[in-house]
């Protein structure tokens, strides 16, 4: 097994190790946020190594096959988790992030013809790489908005139904979660907008379906962003939008790689 795959497998195990005891501790009501940090950091370091070695192996930023894209988004999600978690005091984000990242990496391994060898590019167009990288980090922001949306919906339900127990005490205030969702959607939208602006500067044309899907995702999140900004819907409804909305970029990735 190539070194990138070995590192990826180890990082998947680190995330899994992080989530299983944390979930058990959470159910028993004895969960400590600090403990979640360690496996997430180890997983991230291994993941970074995996992306680096994969990039070396294919001679470009590894974002061409679905398995590579899944790994790159998973890496971006963990990166954003470290950037977003502490400032918003959403410490529990890790326990919700780890299962998603684990699932994405397991899926990356299970996809038929996973991690194919691509023909090395004779000349790398930096705008293409920038366009793709920005788009994938934007998708990671949408994924985190989705996770934060789920956290909001859980906490909102606990408060409404008077279910005051273990997880309730661990989750952040709903007001903070609502703000975090909003900021993550805006961040994703901003990154995706940059990515699409960069696409106008490309020397190497990219396929139409890819651009159409990217614009469709942008339009969807622009709509969600406007709804949030204008406060058309309640925070609970926007949390639903952020949680369910991520299905669209997720499907678009699959379509892009199979039809792109």
């Amino acid at each position: 097994m190539p070194i990138d795959r070995q590192l990826l497998l180890l990082s998947t195990l680190a995330f899994l190790i992080g989530v299983v005891p944390a979930a058990r501790a959470l159910v028993s009501g004895n969960w400590r946020p600090s403990r979640q940090w360690i496996p997430m950091l180890i997983g991230f370091i291994l993941q970074t190594g995996a992306v680096y070695y994969r990039g070396q192996a294919v001679g470009q930023c590894p974002m061409k096959s679905l398995s590579d894209i899944l790994v790159f988004i998973a890496w971006s999600i963990v990166l954003l988790y470290f950037l977003v978690g502490p400032p918003y005091r959403v410490s529990l984000l890790g326990i919700f992030t780890a299962p998603l990242v684990t699932a994405m990496q397991v899926l990356a391994f299970l996809i038929p013809d996973a991690f194919p060898d691509y023909a090395a590019k004779s000349k790398i167009d930096p705008y293409v790489e920038l366009h793709a990288a920005l788009a994938l980090v934007a998708y990671a922001a949408f994924a985190l908005a989705c996770i934060t949306g789920v956290m909001y919906l859980l906490q909102e339900r606990f408060l409404k139904k008077h279910h005051i127990g273990g997880l309730f005490y661990q989750l952040p205030p709903i007001q903070g979660l609502a703000k975090a969702i909003q900021k993550l959607v805006y961040l994703g939208l901003l990154l995706l907008s940059f990515s699409l602006v960069v696409s106008f500067k490309l020397n190497t044309p990219i396929s139409n379906p890819k651009l159409i899907f990217a614009w469709a995702v942008w339009a969807l999140y622009a709509l969600i962003g406007v709804i949030m900004w204008r406060q058309v819907l309640s925070p609970r409804q926007t949390a639903w939008l952020a949680a369910v909305g991520f299905v669209i970029p997720f499907i678009s990735l699959w379509l892009m790689t199979t039809h792109g």
């Binding site: 009501g29 004895n30 606990f158 408060l159 008077h162 005051i164 309730f168 205030p173 007001q175």
Partner: protein, 346 residues
């Protein structure tokens, strides 16, 4: 584990607490904070005594000490005599003074339980940890601790942390006031939280004070008797509103605590719907402590509004207490294992 035998033989604890002694006696023998440095010196100066720490809180007065007396009973007798003289107790008061006299491993077990909040009136409360730490610091600064008590108190702090880290003894709320705080914290950032009291009953005052002590930003009090509202607002550093003005100010607050004696609903869904439009979806916590209730239960159905009546608050507090009691066995197990580790029990 070093020098276990001397610790076992020398350590003594004389104390009284809310279980053994009524408040009227406790307040008689409590050491004011400013007098504790003096007290630790006095205890150490007693014949045959080497070290001392004095812990004096509203719920307990305890003297931890080491001595060179051949008989532990003699050492404890000296301490009782000191307390009687120090507080100038009349013979009948001295007769009525009920203390617990613990030595060696029993004293260490007691200190470990105290630091862990297991001996507190509110099981698992965390304030006592800081109080013991402060008492130890005072003794340390006064130079009345040495090897034995330094080691014992360090071990006690480590046990207290272990109990809190490995169990959920401090989790959950055990009183209506602390439930209100927990709920407010899960809806808003408490530092930005504005509170409105409608009615100035004792329970609503307790809830409001709990919120303020945990950092709530501001408080507005409205009551049928405006004088009472002004009095309460002044006491809590808030502002008073006339009773016919609270409705107009409702959209400006994040937590409403209602406890009027009205025989009908004071807060109705249509009022809250109007408020929520003005609040632009900012969540609102409504705590209804009144019996009969002040708030129409239909209010809980409004988007972004979270309504808790007295039964809901009481049920949460009861469940919090039960959860803590469930943790008691695990805490005692930790303490016993640490007593064995430090050589207090075999």
């Amino acid at each position: 584990m070093v020098d276990v035998e001397p610790i076992k033989n020398q350590l003594v604890c004389l104390g009284l607490n809310y279980r053994t002694t009524p408040v009227e006696v406790r307040e008689r023998v409590a050491f004011p904070e400013s007098k504790v440095p003096e007290a630790v010196q006095e205890v150490r100066a007693l014949p045959g005594f080497e070290e001392s720490v004095v812990l004096s809180t509203c719920n307990r007065v305890e003297i931890y000490s080491t001595h060179t007396h051949a008989d532990a009973q003699q050492a404890q007798g000296e301490l009782v005599k000191y307390v009687i003289q120090r507080f100038d107790l009349a013979p009948e008061q001295a007769e009525a003074l009920v203390t617990y006299d613990l030595h060696a491993g029993e004293a260490a077990r007691h200190l470990f339980r105290v630091v862990s909040g297991l001996d507190s009136m509110v099981l698992g409360e965390t304030e006592i940890f800081g109080q013991v730490k402060a008492a130890y610091q005072v003794a340390l600064a006064a130079g009345t601790t040495s090897r034995t008590l330094n080691k014992l108190f360090q071990q006690a702090f480590s046990v207290g942390k272990k109990v809190r880290n490995e169990t959920t003894i401090q989790r959950g709320s055990t009183s209506v006031g602390s439930v209100a705080v927990d709920l407010a914290e899960k809806v808003h950032d408490l530092k930005e939280c504005r509170v409105m009291l409608i009615g100035a009953g004792e329970m609503s005052r307790t809830c409001a004070q709990s919120l303020l002590s945990r950092g709530a930003k501001s408080i507005i009090v409205s009551n049928r008797s405006h004088d009472r509202a002004v009095e309460l607002a002044t006491e809590m550093g808030g502002t008073a509103l006339k009773f016919d003005e609270w409705e107009a100010a409702m959209h400006e607050v994040d937590v409403i605590i209602s406890s009027t004696s009205a025989p009908h609903f004071v807060i109705k869904p249509e009022q809250i719907q109007h408020v929520m439009k003005k609040r632009r979806w900012e969540p609102l916590l409504v705590i209804d402590i009144a019996v009969p209730r002040d708030v129409d239960p239909a209010v809980n159905g409004i988007e972004g509004v979270y309504l808790y009546d007295i039964d809901a608050l009481q049920a949460i507090a009861d469940s919090g207490r039960k959860e803590r009691e469930k943790q008691l066995y695990a805490c005692e197990q930790i303490i016993e294992s640490q007593l064995t580790k430090y050589g207090f029990v075999e």
